[in-house]
C-alpha cells in the first residue's frame, strides 16, 4: 500500500513538473494557431497562403512592401536603374548569410529569380521583358530588359503568392515542378525540420546570425528583428478548441478566428485582438465564360446589376466593424482603387437585370452555382447569390459541396450538365488583387486564363500596357481603363471587403500591420 502511495505521489509530481516546464517554455516560445496546417514546404511550388507564410519565416526577399504599400529594398542594399530604364543593377547588403553560415551571393539570387519566374504568373510576365539576367560580382547582379516595364519592382517586391523568396543556388536549381527538400533560407527564423510534425506542429527558431536592416520594421519591409527564441505553429483545426486553448493560456495567438467566436475570445481580459491585415479581403463571384448563358456578356452584366455587396457582407460577416462596401476591383485603401466602371451597378437593380436577360434571350437554363459548405467564411455567400439571381430572373441550381471538391470541379471545362459549372464564390486576400497583373481573375487570356476562362483581347492589351508602364501616374490611368473594361465584360464581380483580426494573449506585443502575418518584431512580455 505504501509503495502504491509513493508511486501515485511520484506520478502526481511528474504531472505537476511537466506543467511547470510548459510554463517556463512559454516565456520565450510563441505558440500560434495559423489558418491552416503546414503540409507543403515549397512556397514556389504552391500558391497556398500557409506555405507563403512559412516562406516569410525562413526566407528573405530582395524587396518588400511596407505598411504604406510602398516597395522598399530588403536584401538589396543598392539599386540602380539606367536612364533608358533598361538596365537594373542590384547590389546585396553586407553580412547576409544562409542558415548554414555561407554568404548569400548574387548567383543565389539569380537562380532564385529564375525558379520563381518559371512558376509565378507575374514572374513569367516580368521575364518576357528580360533580355539578360547576369551576375556581375559576388554581391551584384544585373537585369537587362528588352523594353522598359514597371514589373521589375512590382515582381521582385511581390508580397503574396508566389513570393520571390531567395534561396541558395543549389536549392534554387531544383526543378520548379519538383518540391524542395532542402529548406536553407536566410530569413530571421530557421525551420526545424526534425520537429516538423504535419497535423501537430511546425517549429522555427531564431536565426542568431540574421542581419536586420537598420530601418524600423514596417509591413514586410524594414528591420526583421526576431524577439522570440522559438515560434511553434500548432495545428488545431477546431476553431472552438483553438479559442479554448487561448483562454487557457495553452497557446498565445490565433491568426484567423471566425467572426462569431471573436466576442468569446476578447471577452476574456487576458486576450486582445489585432487587425494585422489592414487591407482585408474581398469576396468575389466568378462566372464561367465558357458555359452558356455566361458566354453572353449581357447575361454577365445582369449579374452586376442584380447583386449588391451589403447583402453578402451582412450574411457572412455580420458585424459592420469587420466589413466595408467597396465597389471596385482594386481594394479600398490601395493606390489603384477606383469606382469607375461600377456606376449604377451593384445596387440590386432587378428591373435593369431583367431587361438585360431579356435582351440576351436568356432561355431559363439553370445556372449551376457551386456552394462551398465547409469553409465558414464562404458558406453563406452562395445562398445570397442564389436569392439575388432568382429575383433578377435567373433559374439557379445551387449545388453544395466541400471546398476541395469545388476546387477540383472548377478546373473542369465540361458543360455544367456534365460535371462542369456556371459560377462559384470565393474570397481573395486584398494584397493579391491590388493591380491588373496580380489580379488573377482579370487575366482574360482565354484558355490560359484562370478557371472561368475569360477571353477578351482588349482587356489583355490594357493589362500589357500596364505591365509596360513604370510611371505610377500613368499606371493608375491604365488601371482605371482596365477596371472599366473588366466591369464591362464582367470577368468577375467584387462583393465587398472584409477584415479578419487575429486574437492573442495580452503578453504578445509588436505584431506588424502587413498583408501577411509575420513573426519578427513580436515580443512576449
Amino acid at each position: 500500500m505504501g509503495h502504491l502511495r509513493r508511486s501515485l505521489f511520484a506520478l502526481a509530481a511528474a504531472a505537476a513538473l511537466s506543467g511547470l516546464s510548459t510554463t517556463a517554455d512559454a516565456q520565450k516560445t510563441l505558440r500560434a494557431v495559423m489558418h491552416s496546417d503546414l503540409k507543403i514546404l515549397d512556397p514556389i511550388w504552391t500558391t497556398a497562403y500557409i506555405v507563403r507564410n512559412h516562406g516569410y519565416m525562413i526566407y528573405d526577399t530582395l524587396f518588400a512592401t511596407d505598411e504604406n504599400g510602398e516597395i522598399k529594398p530588403q536584401m538589396v542594399g543598392q539599386y540602380e536603374v539606367s536612364a533608358d530604364k533598361l538596365t537594373h543593377t542590384f547590389s546585396l547588403r553586407d553580412g547576409l548569410q544562409w542558415h548554414d553560415g555561407t554568404p548569400v551571393t548574387a548567383e543565389d539570387c539569380v537562380a532564385s529569380i529564375k525558379r520563381w519566374a518559371a512558376k509565378d504568373t507575374t514572374g513569367q510576365k516580368l521575364m518576357s521583358f528580360v533580355d539578360k539576367l547576369t551576375v556581375r560580382d559576388a554581391k551584384t547582379f544585373v537585369m537587362e530588359l528588352k523594353a522598359p516595364t514597371g514589373l521589375v519592382l512590382l515582381g521582385l517586391g511581390k508580397p503574396s503568392s508566389n513570393v520571390p523568396f531567395m534561396m541558395p543556388k543549389r536549392v534554387a536549381e531544383t526543378d520548379p515542378n519538383t518540391q524542395l527538400s532542402d529548406f536553407t533560407g536566410s530569413g530571421p527564423f530557421v525551420f526545424k525540420r526534425d520537429e516538423w510534425k504535419p497535423g501537430d506542429k511546425t517549429v522555427y527558431v531564431k536565426f542568431d546570425k540574421y542581419k536586420p536592416r537598420s530601418e524600423p520594421a514596417s509591413g514586410l519591409a524594414g528591420g526583421k528583428v526576431a524577439n522570440v527564441d522559438r515560434v511553434e505553429w500548432r495545428a488545431i483545426s477546431d476553431h472552438q478548441q483553438a479559442i479554448n486553448a487561448l483562454l487557457a493560456g495553452e497557446i498565445d495567438f490565433i491568426e484567423a478566428p471566425p467572426h462569431d467566436l471573436l466576442p468569446l475570445a476578447i471577452g476574456d481580459s487576458n486576450v486582445k485582438q489585432f487587425d494585422w491585415n489592414v487591407l482585408g479581403n474581398q469576396f468575389t463571384f466568378r462566372p464561367n465564360w465558357t458555359a452558356k448563358p455566361f458566354d453572353n456578356p449581357k447575361v454577365r452584366q445582369a449579374l452586376l446589376y442584380a447583386f449588391n455587396q451589403k447583402d453578402f457582407l451582412e450574411a457572412v460577416v455580420g458585424d459592420p466593424k469587420y466589413y466595408k462596401v467597396c465597389n471596385s476591383y482594386f481594394p479600398c485603401g490601395t493606390p489603384l482603387f477606383s469606382e469607375k466602371g461600377f456606376e449604377g451597378k451593384l445596387n440590386s437593380d432587378f428591373k435593369k437585370a431583367q431587361e438585360l436577360l431579356k435582351e440576351a434571350g436568356y432561355d431559363g437554363t439553370p445556372i449551376v452555382l457551386m456552394h462551398s459548405t465547409d469553409l465558414q467564411i464562404l458558406t453563406n455567400l452562395a445562398p445570397v447569390a442564389k436569392s439575388l439571381m432568382e429575383k433578377a430572373g435567373f433559374k439557379v441550381d445551387m449545388q453544395s459541396m466541400d471546398w476541395q471538391t469545388l476546387v477540383a470541379r472548377r478546373a473542369k471545362k465540361d458543360p455544367p450538365t456534365a460535371g462542369g459549372w456556371h459560377a462559384f464564390l470565393t474570397s481573395w486576400v486584398s494584397i493579391d488583387i491590388t493591380n491588373p497583373i496580380f489580379t488573377g481573375f482579370m487575366n482574360a487570356a482565354c484558355d490560359k486564363a484562370m478557371f472561368g476562362w475569360p477571353c477578351d483581347p482588349e482587356l489583355e492589351k490594357l493589362r500589357d500596357d500596364f505591365a509596360r508602364e513604370s510611371d505610377p501616374g500613368k499606371q493608375k490611368a491604365i488601371a482605371d481603363q482596365v477596371q472599366v473594361r473588366a466591369a464591362e465584360v464582367v470577368t468577375h464581380i467584387p462583393l465587398g471587403q472584409w477584415y479578419q483580426p487575429a486574437v492573442m494573449r495580452n503578453n504578445v506585443d509588436g505584431m506588424l500591420k502587413a498583408p501577411v502575418p509575420v513573426f519578427w518584431n513580436i515580443s512576449m512580455k
Binding site: A14, S18, T46, N177, D200, N244, A245, E250, M450
Partner: protein, 313 residues
Amino acid sequence: MLTYVLRRLVATIPVMLLVAVFVFLMLRLTPSDPAAIIAGDNANSEQVAEIRKRLGLDQPIVTQFAIWLGKTVTGDFGESFFFKKQVAELIADRVEPTLSLAFFTLLIAIAVAVPLGVVAAYRHGGWLDRTVMGFSVLGFSVPVFVIGYLLIYVFAVELNWLPVQGYQRLQQGIGGWLQRLILPALTLSVIYIALIARITRTSVLEVMHEDYIRTARAKGQTELKVLIRHALANAAVPIVTVIGLGVALLIGGVVVTESVFTIPGLGRLTVDAVLARDYPTIQAVILLFSLAYVLINLAVDLAYTFLDPRIRY
C-alpha cells in the same frame, strides 16, 4: 489450433485485397483532385496539370492501381502527396498517440463498465440497475464531440485542472502523457462503457439462474466470489466478443476524439488526409485499420478457447 490460425491468416489476404480495391476505387470516383488542392487557389490550369502529371494521376486508373498494389505488397506505401514524407514514416509517427488513447480508453471502459454491468445484474430491477441502463442509453445517444466539449468546458476551461488539447509523448514524461490523455480517453470511453456495461449486465443476468450459481451459493461462498468466479467467468465470452467488436467503434471514435483534442494520431491523420485528398495516406491508413480489425477479431476468437474450455478449433 495452429491450422486454424493459419487458415484465418490466409483468409485475411482476400479480405485485404477487397478492401484495397474498394478504397482505391472510392477515392478515384470521388469528385476531387489532389493536384488542384496542392497547386493552391492562385494556380492556373497548366500548373495544376503539371502537378497531376508529377503525381502520376494522369495515368489510367488501372495503371495507377497496379503500381500502387505492386508497391504495397512489398510494404512500400509510397510518398504522401502533401507531406513530402514516406507514408510509412507518417504512420509510424502517429501510432503511439493512437495506441495510447486506445489503451487508456479500453482500460477505463473495462474498469468501469464490467463492475457496473455486474452490479446492475446483481441488483436487477433496482435503482442502480435503472441508473446504469439509463447511463447506457445516454452514452450511446450523445455524440462523442458533445461529450468532449462538455468535459473540456468543465475540467479544462472552468476548473483549469487539465489541458484543453494536445498530446505529450511518453518519452517526454509520464505525467504530461497522462495529463493529456485523461479527457480524450474519458470522452471516448463513454460509448464503450455504455456498450460493455449493457452486455455484461445481460450476460451475467443470463447465468445468474444457472445451477452452478445455486450450487456455489449452497456451498456457502460469498456473493462477491459467486459473482466474480462463477457468474462473470461464465459470462465472459459475449463480453470479450463485444470488446473486440467495439474496436470498430473505437476506430471511429478515435477519428473524432483526436480531431477535437488535437492529438496527432492516426485518426487525425485520416481526417487531414481525407480533407486534402492525400490518396496514398488514406489508402494506407484504411488498410492498416482494416488489418487491425481483422487481427483483433482473430485474437478474440482465440481468446474464447481460454475463457471456455469447451470451445476448440
